[in-house]
Assembly symmetry: C5
Homo-oligomer: 322 residues x 5
């Protein structure tokens, strides 16, 4: 589905509304550039776009089905850029990923969104308000898209960070076994890392001073995006490291709990076992057991049991076993 | 055994049927190239091929017995490429490996399959349908073979991924000890990684811009293969990482189970030990034990035992011990 | 808030008191340089400074809100440097971080402090006492600030090192479970590492021989700062490694404790169980049990119980179980 | 002890029998080269050789006592190469190492064997059968020695691989604790790795295209040796990785066993404790206990005990505790 | 404190006894070089030396207080080298570190020892016996000092290696918990590693072919020192790796011990519990219990208890539980 298609020249949109594909292709070749936005296009639709803009065959093949790695591929007069978008679903503690595929040529930028990817309309609006950047050519649109996507990583990082802190508290406050939650959080982080790490390399190449299709002004702006991405990546790496530490700590906490359980059990066992021994003793059938004849023998025996039980209980409580 | 042998020129197969070795060798030297496919050849057979095509001695030695590492070896006017093929046997959760050895010269490509390697006939058919690529020379055949083999890695990845997910579920749902399964899955992944990782380096070198035997069009196509391979490798690395996490989680889960077992046992021990103590008390032989004389002494004692047992049971169940 | 603003020329401060922003900007362009210090500036304040000194737009945007990574960003005629400051709060075993943002141009240095960052007045005083360095231009002020911040890392390292040693003692002297403390110390170290590691790379680039804005004398001085930073980083890395070791040792210590607990419990169980068995034996109701008729049967039985209990106790104590 | 000393020219040995040292040294300088083999030479003997062939002083010092790291050291007109040999002692699961030190000059190769190193006579014989290689100069002898030593690594790898598989089976089939064996196998692998890994670097430098003392033909042959070595190294790395996994799996297996033991114990305890409680009940001394007067009270009580014991046993067995 | 100060020229010491500082400084500038040795100098003393020899200010500041990282710092006409010395205290299993700071200029070498560093007099004597090396200038003295310090690492490695082997034996022979010892050995190794690893980098730069102040002969000798250092480093790395393995093995050994303890306990519990059950049975008060009336009822019951106890004991011993 075509979302928007516009022609930009001299820093401003040349028309309102959405251009037809054919007209857009015709406007190419002049001074400005065309920015076309698609969402989950049908193969047929994409084929038509590819024909109009003469997109590289292998890249189009990649773009028809999602599930590409983040990458930058240079072609004769343009490049193909795959970026993953992320969005955090707090209730299930999961990150949902989408993909944006960008074809950038000398006078066009085509952005193909797959799945629940970051909405890009606001990126376009933000750029339209900056004639100085629009004037720098198609790379400005690439920057605007990347800036939006990387900004949208921030809430994901915050959501995950929040979960990590919750898990920390839960482990050390003994709120039941956290192994499952730790494991699946790590898994989400690993996937998120895979989504952003290769993008760093792609951005690095995009900023390379030897590229002629990125002007110095845009290079500074892309560097700014890369800086945010790097920060995101560092936070993800730190969280993964923290979770590894929590998993180990979790193991130690479980072991300590087990020690406590075993101590508690055996403490109570002792508190019961000794009176039982005393009762067994007075259950012996010897003919000559003077205590048995005492009027207060029975209450005394009970008192002895209670006293010993209580004494043991106190001693063990002091020793931290109960 | 010779599977197929054909001469290609100007983008098309020059004949139907399979050429004789001698004729194929004669046709070399012209404009096109010969593509010869062998399967588990006898040493003698391979010797004859080597003679006809003047293959490098050390590479032929390697190719006579399988068990080579994936590698690219450059010779004076050609190269020798070893690639591992993989196929997933789901019932035993094992990956079976085969090998394909490729000799590429200025006007020939010789593909030697060892073991249950990927079938390559379909690769040939696919290439024969693409005259534009066929025209690019022997590297097109190399690409076709690599593309097929790397595509065949995908079901292996999917099979392993499926097993990893099964193991995840099994660990957290306490379906018995999964250590053995985790261990052997990791082992398969390690072997698979060894099969594909060195190939990345080989492909990288094959795509190097300084090579004259790979045309720009084929370089783009090889880059596409490398991209798929890279994706496969990343998935394998991720799965290995997940399994490491599962093994650690598994340990924690076992420890938690043990805590539960110990709690359950000691809970029931308490439920039994206290009534036993009471029974022992009333088994004492004191002369003056008023309860013993009560008409309802016995049922009262039993009731007391039951009440205490029940009370303990409830308390412990609430505390999560039973 | 503007803390101080001064103009330096020929190695000395050209005036007492603080210059107005406008006057400072006017004095720029001559031979010396202006050093302006701000603390938690309002966005409006920073905007005015940026205007007067024509600071790069993206850097100013970064500087208005803290939470930047340590980095060095080169602009057309100057650079933007982000440095993290650290201060150790011993009572809660936490490191508090602040940030200093430095804009360095051909004839000015602007230092923006965020949060409880290192106080920089002493850095200025120290530099004012060194005309030889002041004469080298704005990079001297950058050096003075970096030198102060990196020196202030030392007490942080010492505080953390002290805690690590305390934890070591606590683990091996069985002073209760240390898992929580180890975990949070590691976390502080990880954050500290993130604060200082990227600075090394930034310093490295600042010292690069190809920079014309850093004179050889200052290069030697920056190298000295880098050397201190490197030492700090190595100590942090070592402490992280030690804590990993302690966490593992902690696990082993807990397991050994558990062994001891189980041994102690079962030892005492044996000491009680055997006399209980004896009492049960003499509680049997056989008609012909000669011991029961003995005058001293009862004391003998008690003596037997005690003797066996004592013997068991001694044996087990020798075996190290009690 | 001098093992053999021969002069090679135009691809063939120039004489039968062993040359005297002096004569060998005289023959140097011509077209061919001298290959001298020593075994555990006395310092005096080595000194004499060094004098005759003007070997570099520091290298000779190294060669007099074994225990050098594998390395390649270039000298003015030759190089010094240290290689470790390995041999697997299956009965004690240990790898025994030896050393071969090679001095290579423009017209001589001196091979010094230390300890139970690979026997090199067969290497010489093999080379003497290949005039084409012999003609390439002293590097051919170096290749022959390296080829033999690296080939001799293969049985070591196979022996270790076999042990690793045995350990795998033993761990998962609960054949007693395998920790000791795993540990010492890993130790052997670590030592083996140390013996072969630096050799890769040395070989890499030896094959460098910028060396004039290694002809293209020999470079291909050395590359072949390096390829085998690389394969060996990869197998060692894989085995180390497997053993790390086994050690972790071992820990999990032990924990699971402990769970089983604890379950079994407590199961049997329950089977005994409940009948004991019943017996205690009927041992109470209440006056009014109707069951006690029943004619079949006793057998009924016994039957009750048996029934409960049996019922518990069955229930627990089904639950997998017994 | 000045230990020795001598002027060397044409390969020999130009005088006996120690030169005064002023005279030494005067002799500089000629053909030979001055070698000055200091031990724990007062700041004042060092200041005077710095003045006489015009040492670089920042390096002198470093040298006045120890605790520098091993490093090589180049200055305009010389360099500053920090080396750590090590000595093993076997009784406390600790490595004691010292520092040697070397200032090397065109015609002087100043060696400053801090703490219980390697004694350097023997290095001087050894060099004085080698006129060929002395003639090569101040770098010869630097070599002599480095050679001595690196040689002194060997006994440290041997001492640590010995301890590692002792720990290995202790862990597998169950000589009590070794966790503490393993932890502190690892700690010493980590510190030792930190002392030697950066020196490798420094040596590497010192040997660089582009340095004009190190002659080819000395370069060979420094390479020899580096080779020894590399070997030391590899041994340290291996020992660290071994200790990591031992710590893991230790955990498994402790777990196995716990299994054994639990088995033993429960075995004995069974041996006692069953006779107790029998005694309880015959302690029941049923009126009709034929066994109670038997003349040999009591001895038969005792025999039954013994028989069952013995049978259980045997069965469990065979199963490896006792």
């Amino acid at each position: 589905m075509i979302l928007d298609c516009a022609h930009y020249q001299d820093g401003s949109r040349q028309h309102t509304g959405t251009l037809e594909l054919e007209e857009a292709a015709e406007r190419c070749g002049g001074d400005g550039f065309v920015w076309l936005g698609l969402h989950d296009p049908e193969p047929e639709e994409l084929r038509k776009v590819a024909e109009q803009f003469k997109l590289p065959e292998l890249a189009v093949e990649d773009a028809t089905h999602a599930h590409q790695r983040p990458k930058l591929e240079d072609y004769e007069d343009g490049y193909f850029l795959v970026v993953h978008t992320a969005c955090y679903l707090d209730d299930v503690e999961e990150v949902e990923f989408g993909e944006v595929h960008l074809f950038s040529g000398p006078d066009y930028v085509i952005a193909v969104r797959h799945g629940r990817a970051s909405e890009l309309h606001s990126a376009r609006e933000r750029l339209e308000a900056r004639p100085d950047l629009l004037r720098e050519g198609p790379a400005a649109a690439v920057w605007a898209v990347l800036d939006k996507i990387v900004d949208d990583y921030q809430p994901v990082v915050e959501g995950l960070d929040n979960d990590v802190e919750e898990v920390e508290v839960a482990v050390f406050d003994d709120e039941g076994d956290q192994t499952r939650r730790i494991y699946f959080l790590r898994r989400e982080l690993a996937e998120f890392y895979r989504a952003i790490h290769p993008l760093l390399l792609a951005l690095d190449r995009l900023e390379s001073a030897t590229r002629s299709d990125v002007t110095p002004l845009l290079r500074d702006h892309l560097r700014d995006v890369e800086d945010h991405l790097q920060r995101t990546e560092e936070e993800v790496v730190t969280m993964r490291d923290l979770l590894t530490g929590i998993l180990q700590a979790n193991l130690a906490v479980i072991a300590v709990q087990q020690n406590d359980v075993v101590k508690k059990i055996s403490g109570w066992a002792a508190v019961i076992a000794v009176p039982t021994l005393i009762a067994s003793v007075y259950g012996m059938n010897f003919e000559h057991m003077p205590e048995l004849k005492l009027t207060f023998g029975y209450p005394l025996a009970l008192a002895l049991m209670l006293a010993i039980g209580y004494g043991l209980h106190r001693t063990l409580r002091r020793a931290g076993w109960l």
